[in-house]
Amino acid sequence: MNKYTVLGVVIIVGVIGGVYFLRPASSTTGSAQSTTPQTDQFDVVVQQRKVVGGQALFTAKQGDTVSITITADESDELHLHGYDKHVDFSTSTPATLTFVADQSGRFPFEMEGSKTDLGELDVLP
């Protein structure tokens, strides 16, 4: 067999195999649960610049409506990176950030004024 034929076969098998193998990664996460967008409610409670119960790790699915509510013992601004969403909160009034998570990725959020890392929101594709 000609070596170029061998190479051609290897490439074709590789590409088909690769695409087949990678396909579930980007589609089953949705179909396993539900493909209809949901509303995800997440809460962060901050005391003395620490998240109660440790740093928050939230997971949503692309297309979901995400709400993050922050309750804290000080006044500052909640900032979600990437989506670049801001909301002010104070000791007396908790604040909620609500948006449609239309882009996948990993997005940290923090208290903007004091640069306190609060956690991350993973939006799965």
């Binding site: 290897v10 690769g18 990678l22 579930p24 990664a25 980007s26 990725g105 990993r106 594709p125």
Partner: protein, 459 residues
Amino acid sequence: MKSRSWSIAGVALLPLTVPLVASAHAFGQQYTLPLPLSFYIVGGVSAFVASCAVIFLFSDPRPASEGPRVLVVRRLPPAVAKTLRWSGITLAFLLLGIAVFGSQNWYENPVEDIFWVWLLLGFTYVNVFVAGLWDYINPFKTIARWVGELTPDTPSGYPSWLGYVPVIILFFGLVSLELFSNGLGTYPIVLAGVFMLYALICNFGSAAFGIDAWFYHADFFTVFFDLVGTFAPVRLKETTLEITYPGERLVAESASRADLILFVLFILAATALDGLKDTGVWNLVVSYYLPHWGIPLDPNIFGMLMLLIVPFVFFGLYILAIALGRALTRTTLTLRHLVLRFGYSLVPIAVAYHFAHYFDFLIGEVQRPIPLLSDPLTRGWNLFGTKAYVVNLIPLGADTIWYVQLGAIVLGHIIAAVIAHRIAVRTFTSKRDIILSQLPMLVLMVFYTALGLWILAQR
């Protein structure tokens, strides 16, 4: 004296490092999800299969060619060189002005992202396709020329023992300063100060050793862009424009010195450590194992140590692979000759991994100067009509970025394997030797590639 030269090196390096961008929390963040396991496996397997295919299918010896096969040579009109030179120096002074007189908030001043993202990331990847532009644009070199004309010196030659060591020291100082110093020096005014200081250093260096000698060995930008540009099909050099097959120079030319290969591995290691330091593994080591083993190391010091050690480990592994290949083939060629001869084959791996690591950061941050350039001094101007442009930091989804990362790493691996292989068929004379010499290289390259994918796949 020692501490003084170190501090000069440290400050001079400030603008030099590439990994800095991602770590400087203040003005940049990466938003990619970890690579899923399936991507990791497919990438590793295809890299391995592809390199095996290259080695076992195409191992007929060829005569060692004289130099790169150049397809087209054209004389570069002097106006082009002149335009590039003047654009470089003009832009540098304009940006210097904006850095000094503009806002000192990075998100209101375009200088920060133009320097870090447009130049050190964007322009780096331009060099993959068109090499040699920097030699004309380089404002430091233009300044050194002007000063040289005013006060002619009689430079001694560049000391050969010094090699590329200044570039490596500067690179190390800069990366550690940025990655492992909790973020420092992202103010435009600092960049302006560093620019002037670095111009001064380049002038002293040029006066002492000669302009070309200094810039080709000791200027981080020149050496870095030139290294990335060794793959490029288009190359501008002095008064000519050459077109070759991509990667031709990587095959035809040997690395001039071993420390240049070490510098390639410093780039690879710095990118790897930038990826690693945000992973759970790193956290585990820093916050559990180090105290557990009774090693009282500050995480930043630990990071700097790793940045100093890992490139030498990579270099050691490379020499080991070459030595094994040499032993297997029982060749009479010296180890040193082979180490230099195959050194450039590592460049595509380092550049592809660099691109895979910074791609998602680049596509978002590259837009930041667009609205800012219309009003660089925050006076309410709208010079280019782009003031209202809304920056989209996440233009691509995580899945698209995964495909790009995987594609870049596997492609970089295949190009590296093909280049190492093409060097082998020109170095060894029997089919058996060519295959044997490449087996240790195959293992080494699969290791580098798998490591890169593994880091991208970490939480």
